[in-house]
């Protein structure tokens, strides 16, 4: 298969997934009991008048046949037009636009920290004997099992309430970012570390490492210059999973640290059953997820010649 055909196929798959995700979301949200026009006006408790309901139906196209509504919505989604948030009375696109940067900053920093931690633990525990390997495994298992919400409250307890070093609420200061980033990074580091250590051990027992050693490469050099490159690939392949962990984590972490962002908006939208806002955020996350996994596939293909050769054979 040529590189061009592979690329076109992969991008086609991306578009298909986005279309299907939007369709699934549209029809799933139709299952919500109650009159959607009433929901627009604030739910069944709002006691909206018949005229107001009719106006809302006309405004949101709810009087049209379902197929027409679906196609209209799909065209709107494609233009990032998700309607107006019921609860905030603001265009959903604007709400998301305001919140997105904060969440991305948080996620990127957490991802970077998670990689550094995972790398250090993986290298240390493969090099320093059985005890270190045991400690490494233990650390990773506990890190994976720790729920974000407990880690966050424990860190606040230690660093804010007891030591008073860092603020318990995030705000917009740089110091306020430290605890949220650590909270998001630790469970992720545990997961990446597990995969990385396994593939590092795998790489260290493979012929190319022996070959490098016979050429006079030091034990440290073998790890950093040869084996790690090999070991990082499977961990990069898990980027989709890491993305999911960061999104779920952001919901919890932004709520606990009172930090503005997509995750916290999603939670309050779910609590208020703010359908347009939920739809908007869910679809933006689905888009981001699909782009991340597609980019990972491209990267893996470039970094690992075996994938390209396997496709030819």
């Amino acid at each position: 298969m040529s590189a061009l055909r592979w690329t076109v196929g992969r991008l086609g798959g991306l578009v298909f997934v986005l279309w299907a995700a939007a369709t699934l979301t549209f029809f799933t949200l139709r299952l919500i009991p109650g009159d959607p026009a009433e929901a627009v006006l604030g739910g069944p408790g709002s006691q909206a008048s018949e005229e107001a309901l009719a106006a809302a139906r006309a405004e949101y196209g709810l009087d049209q046949p379902l197929v027409v509504q679906y196609l209209t919505q799909l065209a709107r989604y494609a233009r990032f037009d998700f309607g107006t948030s019921y609860a905030l009375r603001q265009p959903v696109a604007q709400v998301i636009g305001d919140q997105l940067a904060g969440t991305i900053a948080l996620a990127v920093m957490a991802l970077a920290l998670a990689w550094v931690l995972a790398l250090l633990v993986a290298v240390w525990s493969t090099r320093s004997g059985r005890l270190a390997a045991g400690i490494g495994t233990g650390l990773e298992v506990v890190a994976v099992a720790i729920p974000h919400f407990w880690l966050a409250t424990s860190l606040v307890l230690l660093f804010s309430s007891t030591l008073g070093w860092l603020p318990a609420l995030s705000g917009s200061s740089a110091a306020g970012l430290v605890l949220p980033v650590i909270t998001l990074a630790i469970p992720l580091a545990g997961f990446i570390g597990q995969v990385m250590r396994e593939s590092l051990l795998d790489a260290l027992s493979s012929p190319f490492v022996l070959a490098a050693r016979t050429r006079g490469e030091t034990a440290t050099g073998v790890i950093w210059r040869h084996a790690l490159r090999h070991a990082a690939l499977p961990a990069i392949g898990l980027s989709g999973w890491a993305f999911g962990s960061l999104v779920s984590g952001a919901v919890v972490v932004e709520t606990i640290f009172a930090r503005p962002g997509i995750g916290r908006s999603l939670l309050s939208a779910v609590q208020a059953r703010d359908v347009p806002l939920v739809t908007g955020i869910v679809l933006i996350v689905a888009l981001a997820y699909s782009v991340v996994t597609t980019a990972t596939d491209f990267f893996e293909r470039i970094a690992d010649p075996r994938l390209r050769l396997a496709a030819v054979a």
Binding site: V144, I146, F149, T153, G240, S248
Partner: protein, 261 residues
């Protein structure tokens, strides 16, 4: 490490089935005069804002917390298993279609599918359990499909075909038992994750709500006092971490054993 986690799990299971044996008190009994007692001999893990004994509540909370985690895993594995089995056993076009569908579900990562379900069904213990099950189903579907395909193409199934065994007999006698072993490992590995997610939903106010003795709900209630009364959030969280970590370790141990045998 395996022995420790097995012992811990046994303790948690005892707490879940017979909480009265380990903590004879009533988890909901309030005693306002004894509110906010730090851990002591009388109250091993302290008391909460209504003077309820935290140790008693955590022991009695094991039942609901573990049950929700187990149920969510069963739902996730049931849905995922059916999808995975259809994909793995069906003809090529069925496999392609089902795999595509699972791929679409993957575009709602982590808690997203769960939150989407809660928007439709409304919050509560039952919906949060189903929500966690739904959220984990795509992962199981992928794993089960891979496993079914591997078994289906194995030498012993091929020899069963050569011997002229019918498809039903191949499915029941050869494929199902061999996939089943792996499924058991998956359940053990998955329960820990489900417990954590379900308690996260309770913590966010979308699952079990206080004053019920459920670990996530207890953590959520203790959050208000995190600065002054640390034990209210620390111990319920520890219970979640320990149960999730011990099931995961046990699952890994089983995985290695099935791999090497």
């Amino acid at each position: 490490m395996v022995a420790t986690s097995a012992a811990l799990l046994l303790f948690l299971l005892t707490a879940a089935v017979l909480p009265g044996l380990l903590a004879p008190g009533n988890p909901l009994a309030i005693a306002p005069l004894e509110a906010f007692q730090p851990p002591s001999a009388a109250h091993l893990l302290g008391t909460d804002e209504s003077g309820r004994d935290l140790y008693t509540r955590i022991i009695h909370g094991a039942g609901p917390s573990l049950l929700i985690g187990a149920f969510a895993t069963v739902i996730g594995l049931g849905l995922g298993g059916v999808l995975g089995a259809i994909a793995g056993l069906g003809p090529h076009w069925v496999d392609a279609g089902t795999t595509r569908f699972v791929e679409v579900l993957f575009a709602f990562p982590g808690l997203l599918l769960a939150l989407l379900f809660i928007v439709i069904a409304g919050p509560g213990p039952l919906t949060s359990t189903v929500a966690v099950g739904l959220a984990t189903a795509p992962g199981y579907a992928r794993l089960v499909r891979t496993q079914v395909l591997a078994v289906r193409r194995s030498a012993y199934v091929e020899s069963a075909i050569v011997l002229g065994r019918g498809w039903w007999r191949r499915l029941v006698r050869h494929i199902a038992p061999n996939v089943g072993g792996t499924l058991f490992v998956l359940v053990t590995l998955g329960i820990g994750q489900s417990i954590v997610w379900a308690s996260a939903l309770s913590y966010l106010g979308l699952g079990v709500s206080p004053p019920a003795a459920e670990w996530g709900a207890m953590l959520s209630a203790g959050r208000t006092y995190v600065g002054s009364f640390w034990w209210l959030t620390f111990f319920p969280g520890l219970a979640i971490v320990l149960s999730a970590a011990s099931t995961t370790l046990l699952g890994r141990h089983l995985q290695q054993r099935t791999r090497s045998s």
